[in-house]
Symmetry: C2
Subunit: 416 residues, 2 copies
């Protein structure tokens, strides 16, 4: 099937969520395919931060903790995220970083399981999981000596590995390199049958694919605010604890914002009865305000439309790569099967780093991931079909013309 | 000695750091005596955040991690804080919250001591320490069962309590309620004689009193970015690890930003060789930029001048209280002795909450702390002598006229 730029323009005209692009400021002469790493700037963020700085901080000063309700931001944002992810408003709180939040939940679970289930000694995760997830798990388990083993299996082997020896599983819904998507409801069902709690890392799926935490039986999750949620560089992350579990788990990070009565200033820690117990120190108000604006870019946007467009964009990219770049040594490592595909495509290439640098110089921004991957993320709120067209055309041009092509590369490419 | 407003104006004219006030935006009709809780807004922050949002994030997008050097912010800010606190540039990093940073250092130390010094079972801190410090300690020690005991003694008894049973001490240099100041060099000397590491919480002293971490033999410290350092609400905190200790301590929060090679994305955690090992997740770039501007308000300001003015301001406040408010039932709980006084005064009063509310309504902003304290903080960069005069005059007026005075209060006050 032949597609031209006009077809892409037509698709953009018919896009039911095309209006969302107007909520973002995107630089001229840039095609941004890295919103899976850092979301674009929402227009509303500019005014909001100006207001938060000039008026709330500058004029309100300390009074703004109450008058501007800064104190409620972690829960207010949590409720917004919950609406997006199919959780109850009091099951999510915005706080700290993904790594710190993962530490809270995994520590709490490991501690819990170590007491109630002595025979469960495996903490299960995926080979190729986002490294910080594995690092955090390693750090926690170190304190337990030989008690637990961190076992990494391929994504396709997770289900089979969810056996009676597993204490807790730590899974990332969408793989950061391949974009492979887990069927959360199905995996949860298998895990629950075996009494295994799963902590889901939603960093590469929240805001990108429809998520129904309640409907899919999820108990625990963390996620990132600065990718598809458009919260800005290093935005606060979030964590989810299903309601009935909240009273059973205590965060190891027992800071004052997790206290039942933080402003009573009593000496003894007593965890808040609610999800607030998973807060720790004073949250960054400016970062929270930016995240709030990021979350509001989803207002009035159906996640089903986001998903449909996401798949259409990646299908288009893949097809255009086949049509226009078949002979340059690219090999897609993302799932062809739409039901297990997230919102990105990754292509292996032996000169991946140099190719991505050349693309970025031409204004097409994806990213490079070790050892040999070019990643292209599709953020349906602001990525257009014509962007995909233009990106592939630039890539073709780069491959045909650019000086980065070493003789060695050309020779090897001819052989294969 | 009688003082009038003219005298205060003269002092302001002769103030060698009066120029620093121009670096802040302060609202009209407000006398701000709560910079010990949330520092005022530096003018430079407005432009910096606008640039960071519009240009670095909006236009630079993901490229700004390198092009705008976002990646170096935690260390760049750490070096600035180090210059202020007498540490080497590579001994401090800006990261997370004070609570989280305290967790990192105290966990690391407790874990270390638990292995090398089985006879040391006391974690020593102060009765009345800022609660989050005690909460974090309680959370950490819980995991060790009976192995450690958290022992709290009065500030004046710390020295005597630094005995051979102490594993680690957790001290706050300036008490958040009374403003009492520890002699850090002296306490460090006593502790080192007994082989006891101290973790200093500098939240209420950094930027308020001269600190010489190297010269005073400090090994470990944490501190807050949003008080005297003017980094904005919930600003990133910082932590200090003396150079020779860095390789011996591993943070329990083993996130990717603490990895030796975070962007190699390898599966095994390997802590960075430097202070970077105490970073964890992705830092908030916007919050870091604001903190950077806060730190720069100290440029060209000698901490000796800050200290001299701080003491002169609190002396003045105290004296004016004695001259003009002697009969209203206030009793100062802060040290008269300047050598152990931080940069605040706290007055006990049986109607403290109501009095502070009345003051705030009149534009004099201090704060109330349980159970009965009015706190007034003096931030020499932007507090003037006339502010102190005006504040006490408003307080006198409030006490003489305001409707909050209940009959009960008046009666009881007559008796005492």
């Amino acid at each position: 099937m032949s597609i031209d730029r006009k077809d892409c323009e037509t698709r953009d005209r018919n896009d039911p969520i095309a209006f969302a692009r107007e909520r973002f400021l995107l630089p001229d002469a840039v095609i941004y395919l890295d919103g899976n790493s850092l979301g674009a700037l929402p227009k509303a963020t500019i005014e909001r931060l100006k207001h938060a700085v000039d008026d709330e901080w500058g004029k309100g000063l300390i009074r703004s903790w109450n008058q501007a309700d800064w104190i409620s931001l972690p829960r207010k944002l949590g409720a917004r995220i919950a609406a997006l992810l199919g959780a109850k408003p009091d099951e999510i709180v915005a706080a700290d970083s993904t790594s710190v939040n993962l530490f809270k939940l995994l520590s709490a679970m490991v501690s819990h399981v170590s007491k109630v289930s002595p025979s469960r000694r495996v903490v299960l995760s995926e080979a190729g999981n986002f490294p910080t997830d594995l690092y955090i798990a390693q750090g926690i388990l170190k304190a337990y000596g030989d008690r637990f083993e961190l076992k990494l299996v391929d994504a396709t082997e997770i289900e089979a590995a969810l056996g009676p020896d597993v204490a807790v599983a730590l899974l990332t819904q969408v793989d950061y390199r391949t974009g492979r998507l887990h069927d959360m409801a199905h995996v949860n069902k298998v895990a629950q049958r075996n009494g295994i709690p799963i902590i889901w890392d939603l960093s590469h799926s929240a805001g990108a694919v429809p998520i129904d935490l309640a409907g899919s039986g999820a108990q625990l999750a963390v996620g990132c605010g600065y990718k598809y949620l458009n919260g800005g560089p290093g935005a606060p992350a979030f964590l989810y604890v299903e309601g009935s579990l909240q009273s059973q788990l205590v965060s190891p990070l027992t800071g004052w914002f997790g206290h039942a009565a933080p402003f009573d200033f009593i000496n003894e820690y007593e965890p808040a009865a609610s999800i607030d117990r998973f807060q720790c120190g004073t949250p960054s108000v400016l970062a929270m305000q930016a995240l709030d604006c990021g979350l509001q870019t989803f207002q009035g946007v159906a996640m089903a439309d986001v998903r449909a467009k996401s798949l259409a964009l990646s299908d288009l990219f893949w097809q255009l790569m086949e049509n226009h770049c078949p002979d340059f040594g690219f090999s897609c490592v993302s799932p062809r099967n739409r039901s297990i595909r997230g919102s990105q495509l990754s292509f292996a290439h032996e000169q991946a780093y140099a190719v991505m640098q050349a693309l970025i110089e031409r204004g097409v921004i994806g990213d490079f991931r070790q050892p040999n991957l070019l990643r292209f993320g599709f953020t349906p709120l602001y990525t257009r079909y014509v962007d995909v067209w233009d990106a592939v055309m630039v890539l073709r041009d780069v491959m045909e013309q650019s000086a980065w092509q070493s003789t060695r590369f050309q020779q090897r490419n001819k052989v294969t």
